[in-house]
Amino acid sequence: MKSILPILTVVAAIIVLWYGAAVWLNSKWVYDQAARAGVEVSFSEVVKQTMNQERPKLPAPHQVAAELWKTTVEKKITSKRSLIFHSWITLSATLLGFAIGTGLGILLAVGIVHNRAMDMSVMPWAIASQTIPIIAIAPMIIVVLNSVGIQGLLPKAIISAYLSFFPVVVGMVKGLRSPGMMELDQMKTWNASPAQTFWKLRLPASMPYLFASLKVGIAASLVGAIVGELPTGAIRGLGARLLSGSYYGQTVQIWAALLAAAILAAGLVGIVGLIQRITLRRMGMAQ
């Protein structure tokens, strides 16, 4: 309960700043309107008018909240206008991409740790892959896969995996290499096989590192899934909501989608964190 107070304080501060920024950014439009109509407006009038514009530069928090309410609680989740519906579309691509990325990341890490050739060759490529902007690669992946008849969930999941495998590789390599000389010597005195050393020493030792990576990885997966929805002209998913919002200048819709994405990300990271806590506690390694 003690941790809730600082969190609330920060949230309150953000909301205050947000309102301030909304007044500041949206007031120009109010002044322009007034000038065109040839009337004077008082400051309090300006503030009032910055709060409820149709297409504000920056929607006020209560506008976004209202939009969120309208598109989640008041719509059926099968509706094209339900944010829950769109969130689910994005979430499914995120989860599939996260699974692929994590699996690939772990496999690569195991290869890197056990095979000298892979150690020398894979890491530079993995790093290079992350220096290319995902926004440049995403359309290509979509187009290429589309040309071989793969559409829908999978291309988005692959883009999502492309972002999430990297932190998993990095963390897992570090984790698998975390046992010290003494632990490895111990295994040697028992004449343990490489497979036994892997399953009984390297893998359990890597768990804290893996979970730290998974938290980064799941957030990266969500970003990947959203980016994957942008170039397709998709009509479903949070990315599609962002895109159509910006086409039509629907800033309230954009911000609602952004907030939904943020809530989704926080939820996903929270779930990974929970699994981490439970697993490490069971392993006796809770920090």
Binding site: E183, D185, Q186, W190, Q196, K200, L201, P204, G284, M285
Partner: protein
């Protein structure tokens, strides 16, 4: 070489090639350890005690001379799981319970599950840790962790026990207690024990044979056969015989140091 020499080293040498030039960790080491011996290695830091143990264990390759363990090369002996090795730090795996840690070598060696349970129970009893099976290492004191690591080295019942300063980090009282327990265990099991220590009383109290080493290059300065009986209550340490052996060890250490410079 006598036929019952469990460990026999002849003209053994090990030189590490380092960036600052060669380090002669061991030179011209000749030593016979008989079955059932309790041998302590004592000497100043860097005289090659750990290195010798590691050579016996097949963790380090000698660069000169010969060594056999149970009549085999150290590496063959390692593969035959001829010894249990207790490192200076307990080195328990934090994700395994005490029982799980003791079980680890048994799992690796392919003991049946029933046999694993039986042995874990037995060795934990041997080191006075019954009731702590389900605790994790961090829930135990340093001394208890060290006992668990000894139990782990005993679990697969190798004839040879190699111990590198196992009680180095513990206080005097706990150390006394563990020394006593170790002697009992040795008497009960008849194992051959090679034991590294920095403490003269500990070496004299435990050993049938004390190897005094000197550094740079690491070599054996003196080998003292203890005249003390195998049965040793703690207060044997106040007898003249005990003090005489301790005196000889101390002289040896001093003379070994005097070689330097």
């Amino acid at each position: 070489m006598t036929s019952d020499a469990v460990i026999a080293a002849r003209d053994l040498g090990l030189t590490f090639q380092t960036n600052d030039g060669p380090v002669h960790a061991l030179k011209d080491v000749n030593l016979q350890i008989a079955r059932g011996d309790f041998v302590s290695f004592i000497g100043p830091s860097g005289c090659g005690k750990t290195t010798f143990l590691r050579v016996v264990a097949g963790l380090e390759e000698p660069t000169a001379g010969q060594i056999t363990v149970n009549g085999m090369s150290p590496d063959e002996a390692r593969r035959a799981r001829a010894y249990g090795y207790v490192f200076q730090a307990a080195g328990l795996f934090p994700w395994r319970t005490i029982a799980g840690n003791v079980k680890l070598p048994l799992e690796i060696m392919g003991f049946t599950r029933a046999e694993q349970e039986k042995r874990v129970k037995k060795v934990l009893q041997l080191v006075d840790l019954e009731g702590f099976e389900r605790k994790f290492p961090w829930q135990l004191s340093g001394g208890m962790q060290q006992r668990a690591s000894i139990a782990r080295a005993l679990a697969f019942d190798a004839d040879i026990l190699l111990m590198d300063e196992p009680f180095g980090a513990l206080d005097e009282i706990v150390r006394d207690h563990l020394n006593e327990q170790l002697l009992k265990l040795w008497a009960r099991t008849g194992k051959t024990i090679a034991f590294v220590t920095h403490s003269i009383p500990e070496a004299v109290y435990l050993s049938t044979k004390i190897v005094v080493m000197s550094p740079r290059p690491g070599r054996i300065h003196d080998v003292i056969e203890s005249p003390l009986p195998r049965e040793r209550p703690l207060d044997i340490r106040d007898t003249p015989e005990f003090l005489e052996v301790a005196h000889r060890v101390r002289e040896g250490l001093r003379a070994g140091h005097a070689y330097e410079g």
